[in-house]
Symmetry: C2
Subunit: 230 residues, 2 copies
DNA sequence: CCTACCATTAAACGGTTGTTTCAAACAGGC
DNA sequence: GCCTGTTTGAAACAACCGTTTAATGGTAGG
């Protein structure tokens, strides 16, 4: 049995999560983790087999509930109404992110920085698992979005879903950068704001009629190009 | 004088760029770089002072032209018409990305993966420089966007600009993940598609009237339901 | 020719990495 | 109690890291 109080395993997970989110996986040594967790160095290899094993567990612990909530939300939504609104579907996808960030027991705001670093970090086998999980969710939402948006070709919906993921991931992940650029500190509670502000933004984007390949350029651009200094 | 043919310096830069984009900076050793470049290990420290120096040069070489093109595009746009259209401004911001990705001499598609890894990687001093450069560009575009979008509060414009950056960065950066999820390989030439498809998407988002704080919540979907405080 | 000077080479440096070892401390079942 | 299996502790392991050194090759200027 592992956990009534903060077991060794839990403390390692918490410390690793904190450091991974702050510095990235590759730059975080096991010694830094075990020092922060006040745990012996060997405990990591004992409990998780290897650093890779620890990394997988840290991410899995957060990503699994997130994706499960997303799928559950959509399921519940479709059971309630055969034709949910676009906004409902989008909120079902985005709100679990805010929920996670709000609950310190589930990682709090730290977990969002983790998500942003997911892709750059991680070794091959874990990356494959992660992509597989994510694919299931995105496929499911793609189908749901196509249903609420007849008239938009599925391929367009797929692209726009990618845009949504990017717009959602980037601001919460690159918090440090966002702060520097905006001059304003981003409160952890502002993850709600991200969702609230992003929802109408992407909703409008999803509804754009397809197939207008080029937005009309006012007057033909006479001299198209740049000062090539190559 | 360094460069008539592929000098040592150039080969190091090319190899480093390739490996940084593929594996990330932290996971890429100088030995891997010099092996790929078929160059002596010490050459890196000789030409760039340190690994950090090399990292900075690799990124600077690509980011500087990108940001310069963005600023130049906007300048030229505003000189031509005092009130450029929203689409024009957005294209001025996004098109240099596609241009870079199209030109192998400027890094080609590889450079996009670099951009995506920018934030997670990099040490403090370089990060500060990068954020400063980026901030200048974003501030400039923020002002331009506010001018084309009177009626949208500047703070909303700022958020939406963040969304744009995220939506633009993510799909081109996480190419591997996108491929896995979409099942389709993303051709380097498709960076054009990203821009073409993203432009109308975000344009619609930017035009959304502000101040609709909550999209209708769960039970009542029909009613606009504009209750909630700000 | 010789002398500076820059570029390149091979080898080694100290430090940190993830991982392992082995003994000690601990738990609960009989 | 004693015993079995699990968990922790301090120390050591080999491998790799970024960096430095010292000697070399090559080339332009005097």
């Amino acid at each position: 049995m592992t956990s009534l109080l903060d077991s060794t395993k839990d403390r390692i997970l918490a410390a690793a999560e904190e450091l991974f989110a702050r510095t990235g996986v590759a730059r975080t040594s096991l010694r830094a983790i075990t020092a922060l967790a006040r745990v012996n160095l060997a405990a990591v290899n004992y409990h998780f087999g290897s650093k890779e094993g620890l990394v997988e567990e840290v991410y899995r612990r957060r990503l699994e509930p997130l994706n499960r909530a997303r799928l559950l939300n959509l399921e519940r939504l479709e059971r309630r109404a055969r034709k949910p609104s676009l906004e409902d579907v989008l909120e079902a996808f985005m709100s679990p992110v805010a929920q996670l960030a709000r609950d310190p027991a589930q990682g709090g705001p730290t977990v969002m920085r983790l998500l942003g670093q997911t892709h750059a970090e991680a070794e091959e086998p874990f990356k494959a698992w992660f992509a597989g999980e994510y694919k299931r969710v995105l496929e499911r939402y793609h189908a749901a979005l196509c249903r609420t948006l007849p008239g938009i070709p599925p391929e367009d919906v797929r692209w726009r879903l990618q845009f949504l993921v990017g717009a959602l991931t980037y601001p919460v992940a690159e918090r440090q950068l966002v702060e520097l650029v905006s001059g304003e500190a981003m409160d952890p509670a502002d993850v709600n704001q991200v969702v609230e502000r992003l929802l109408p933004f992407v909703a409008a984007g999803f509804r754009v009629p397809p197939g207008t390949p080029k937005p009309a350029r006012r007057a033909t651009r006479r001299r198209p190009k740049v000062t090539r200094n190559s």
